[in-house]
Symmetry: none
Subunit: 248 residues, 2 copies
């Protein structure tokens, strides 16, 4: 049995947070439940005195927060990623209720870091940001008022991760399976596929429709393994080069 350290395995990513107080509240919620890795993508505010005031005894989480310019950068070394949404209409990826997502996250954490991604306070995650996540999560809530405060949402996730820690270690992790692909290799795979499709004429850059979104959704659901991501990327690049040469 492999034991998971939540502090080492799980990271919280906030996309475009706009209120310092919320960032502080997130830090406190994390430390209350033993988490420490916080990343901000394109923050719209400073980590200022308000943030530290709300963080209370969790200032260390703010001190060590990482800043990124894009979500794919923040996700690059993660083996799985869960994007939070309260809008269930978008058919982008699998959608889990919180507690079930946490179970899956522990299974994946055997192989590497797992990210939980939260959107801006007003608008949540964009379609593009959700597309960068391998699964979507919703927090069961009052359908007439399901919009949770950002720090409250992180508190619920952190708590579920903390509680699951003592329950889940009885699960038999399948560590014999090949490890899942790192997110940066999946991004590279999608780029190779797109280039091949452009070269072949199948993808019209002036009228791309939903082609790449549909393919990305398929690739995320497919749970590509690290070995396979290299195999597939190799195929697409070989074919692309062959097509490119033949045009001349």
């Amino acid at each position: 049995m492999i034991s998971i350290s939540p502090a080492a395995s799980f990271r919280i990513i906030l996309c475009r947070p706009s209120h310092p107080g919320n960032i502080g509240g997130v830090a406190r919620a994390m430390k209350n439940m033993g988490l420490s890795q916080l990343s901000l993508v394109q923050p719209l505010c400073e980590i200022n005195a308000d943030a530290y005031a709300r963080a209370s005894g969790a200032g260390s989480v703010l001190d060590e927060a990482q800043i990124y310019t894009t979500l794919p950068d923040a996700l690059s070394h993660c083996v799985d990623s869960f994007g939070f949404t309260s809008r269930r209409r978008e058919r982008i990826a699998r959608l889990y209720p919180l507690r079930e997502a946490v179970t899956h996250a522990y299974e994946k954490a055997v192989h590497g870091p797992v990210a939980f991604v939260f959107g801006n306070e007003t608008n949540g995650l964009t379609i593009e940001e959700l597309s960068n996540c391998q699964s979507m999560v919703y927090i069961p809530a009052n359908p007439e008022y399901a919009s949770l405060n950002l720090a409250a949402a992180v508190q619920l996730l952190s708590y579920e991760l903390y509680v699951a820690q003592s329950v889940i270690p009885t699960i038999n992790y399948d560590v014999t399976a090949s490890p899942p692909a790192q997110q940066q290799h999946l991004s590279h795979l999608m780029k190779s596929l797109e280039n091949m499709l452009l070269e072949s004429g199948y993808l019209d850059p002036n009228n791309p429709k939903q082609l790449m979104t549909r393919l990305q959704r398929f690739i995320h659901r497919a749970r590509v393994e690290e070995e396979e991501v290299h195999l597939l990327t190799g195929i697409f690049e070989t074919v692309r080069k062959k097509l490119a040469r033949s045009v001349k």
Copy 2:
């Protein structure tokens, strides 16, 4: 089985709250999870504009909040009461972890209102206040930093009450409702892929190794949908034709 309405059965009692923002955060956390009955005992602050700002869309909970001068008054019609504490040393009453307390609360709620009692932000519940409660509850948390924000603690309780209300269905949350691909279409897909690989030179017919086996394993695990199988087959056939033409 008797069905319990959480909104009618459960009330949140805050003893001596001192920050309007926290009271607002509590109101929002409650409404997010379908609760509405909030009582304040000897509040040390007003329910002011800060409270309404943090309450966001849950101002109605603040409008209807009841004010009491003593905790026994606030508890008078309740059939059970749970006092929250992060200090587990006081052996005043039975002490339950949150999730277990919620189970007991639902059992009691058949008979009448059940109260959850939270203390002042700085000091928590006094010994006397805890003595007025029939049981004590703790929220499992990092032992090195177990002091949760008041609104965060109410959020966790409200969430546990909401989730316990119904068995949250775990099946059918896969909103990718498109049916799975028929096996014959998967076979066709594999054939198209093989033809493309042969045409591109990536697959050597005299030395195929395990290439097609590995790809088949991936495709089976990926749970390709019917729509996707046609999309992928179309891509491979387009590319194969393009490669074939270019050789001539």
